[in-house]
């Protein structure tokens, strides 16, 4: 019974090993073929599946070895998009911010082969990982659609197609990330409407990750987002979002961030376990999923493994405590 509670997972991305970073650079300069790059991406994916199994995580991810950026990856594969120039995200980090330049269309599935490959490597469930329509819109320039709503709904349609293909391929968990959902709180209804299109026919468990922004500005409206589980960065915010649940009870499953992904220092198991206990005040153990706050692609392999191990050990500790409590 206790193993079915506090299932541990991660948000999605892991760091790329050095050989893959080099290969991506070589591919970008035309010095490596697509086939050779894909081979190395598959190798890195397998390594991450093995690491997740070894650490003892319950619900796995493919680690996104084949993606550079969570929006640009999809934009590159969708018709209607063109690549934009470099824009600074922070400090000395830049990304190609994509441009919606025409009618959005999905010529073919974008993540299904990667899901199938990752799932074939393990008996544990692997999540299908998508970027939500509102975030796709908000993190793109829009030159083609008259309104932001029009663009979000067009994106929702192609993401729906992808999500349904993932489900047909066997995905039991489909995560549709919306980290930009609080960018403009007055547009929360657009995000909800768009997500409704994506998840309308899905039977898989649906999840949406939200991070970095003013979650309070969209709470409790965000409870109307048509997904089963919200996946929230909490540790980085000293769990202050939980206080919102005192006023308006949280009604979904909660994936709770219990280690900070943007600092090198490793949290103790006790600290992380305390985060889980905080979450348990609001969400039952069978509906609470401990994990790191956000994707781990900015951390080294060692840091990532250590942070995931802390999550797993913290969950074990709290499971043991719960097992001792008489029913």
């Amino acid at each position: 019974m206790t193993s079915e509670i506090l299932l541990t997972t991660t948000v999605g991305s892991f760091g790329k090993p050095e050989y893959l970073q080099k290969a991506r650079n070589q591919f970008g300069r035309g010095k490596l073929s697509r086939e050779e790059l894909t081979k190395l991406e598959r190798q890195a994916t397998e390594e991450w599946i093995r690491r997740q199994e070894e650490v003892g995580l319950d619900i796995l991810v493919d680690g996104e070895m084949y993606r550079g950026d969570m929006v640009a990856y999809f934009a590159d594969l969708l018709e209607g998009y063109r690549e934009g120039g470099l824009v600074r995200s922070y400090g000395n980090r830049y990304y190609h911010k994509p441009i919606i330049a025409g009618r959005i269309r999905r010529p073919k599935p974008m993540t299904v082969e990667w899901f199938e490959y990752a799932q074939s490597l393990t008996d544990k469930p692997v999540k299908g990982m998508l970027t939500g329509p509102y975030t796709m819109l908000d993190w793109s320039f829009n030159e083609a659609y008259r309104t932001r709503r029009d663009a979000a709904l067009a994106l929702a349609e192609v993401i729906r197609q992808e999500a349904e293909d993932l489900e047909r391929a066997g995905a039991k968990y489909i995560q549709i990330d919306e980290p930009a959902i609080h960018a403009r709180p007055e547009e929360i209804d657009i995000a909800i409407e768009a997500m409704g299109i994506v998840t309308q026919h899905l039977k898989a468990k649906t999840i949406s990750h939200i991070c970095y922004g003013d979650f309070a500005a969209i709470y409790p409206q965000v409870l109307k987002l048509p997904v089963d589980q919200l996946d929230l960065a909490m540790s980085n915010y000293q769990y202050r979002w939980l206080e919102l649940f005192d006023r308006d009870p949280f009604t979904k499953e909660l994936a709770i961030g219990i280690v900070d992904v943007h600092k090198h220092e490793l949290e103790s198991v006790d600290e992380a376990a305390e985060g889980i206990r905080k979450g348990l005040k609001y969400v039952r153990a069978d509906r609470l999923y401990p994990h790191p706050d956000c994707g781990l692609k900015t951390r080294t392999v060692e840091e990532t493994v250590d942070k995931c191990r802390v999550v797993v050990e913290a969950a074990k500790k709290v499971r043991a405590e719960l097992a001792k409590v008489p029913a």
Binding site: G84, G85, L86, V87, R88, S89, Y90, G91, N92, Y94, K97, I99, D138, W139, F141, N142, E143, A180, A183, R184, Y212, G213, N236, H262
Partner: protein, 324 residues
Amino acid sequence: MKTTVIGAFPKISDDQGGQELRRALHRFDRGEIDASALDQVFDTVTRSAIAELEGAGIDVINDAQIRWDDLFAQFARSWEGVSRGPLERFYDNNTYFRQPVIERAISTGGRTLVRDFEFARTAAKTQLKAAVCGPLSFATLTAEDRAYKSLEERTFAVADALAAEIRGLGAAGATLVDVEDPAVAARPDLIALARAAYERLAKAGVPLAIQPYFFPADKVIEALATFPVAQVGIDLCSRDTKALSALGVLRTRTVVLGVVDARNTRLETEAEVATIIEAAAKVVGADRVWAAPTAGLEYLPHDVASRKLAVLVKGARAAMGVPA
């Protein structure tokens, strides 16, 4: 009527020749160059950005904020009592900043930006303005405050520190200072507090331009008319707004109209820009209208930023009846 820019200009461009700063920062991080070599690159890129702004025909430029990591970085690095805290998304941009952490009472000698302003003056041929962050934005986006008991106390402490910086810039020759303060439009509920903070900034005795970009000014435009500033920036095109029809309340100020969207690549036409400027000029008078991008052009790729500058200047000249 003049053209101007607000905030930061792109620090790099997509072509190999435009990536000098990016490479230098990587080399600095790896310990391959020292701080003085990095400083030289900052200066070179600043000089180049100033030349580009001038070459585009902008009448009143800034130093392009090439050294600024984010709106608060320069101040949080320099001020005593403040450190740089967690990363957070900067309003509705997929751009991040480090939230200030106030550890103890803030103090500053008021010379944080003086060296950079003096350097930019040596590089600039046209009128140069300075810029500081806004007190309300700094105070409301602070992650942690261990020194002040309330938002009001914090805002006033930040305003006093910024007033010292403005005084320092004035002594260095600045005749106009932009105060970039998105929170003023984002938080209409705090407009009275913001106004009181600007009273403190005004004591520095240097003409100020409040730049409350990113958000529609509709709810605060009347209040902005009472701020002790020479200029008021109004973003007219990045979101739905009726501010154009309300500009009449700003008749006693110079209005810095945001007429090209600094956050979307869609390029405005010369006619679109001219139409907005002409409409505004009818309300407040042509001599009280400046035209600008809606915010810092750093939210755009460099090549698009350059095209936005060009259409801004062409549209402004068309509005004035000056041949392009």
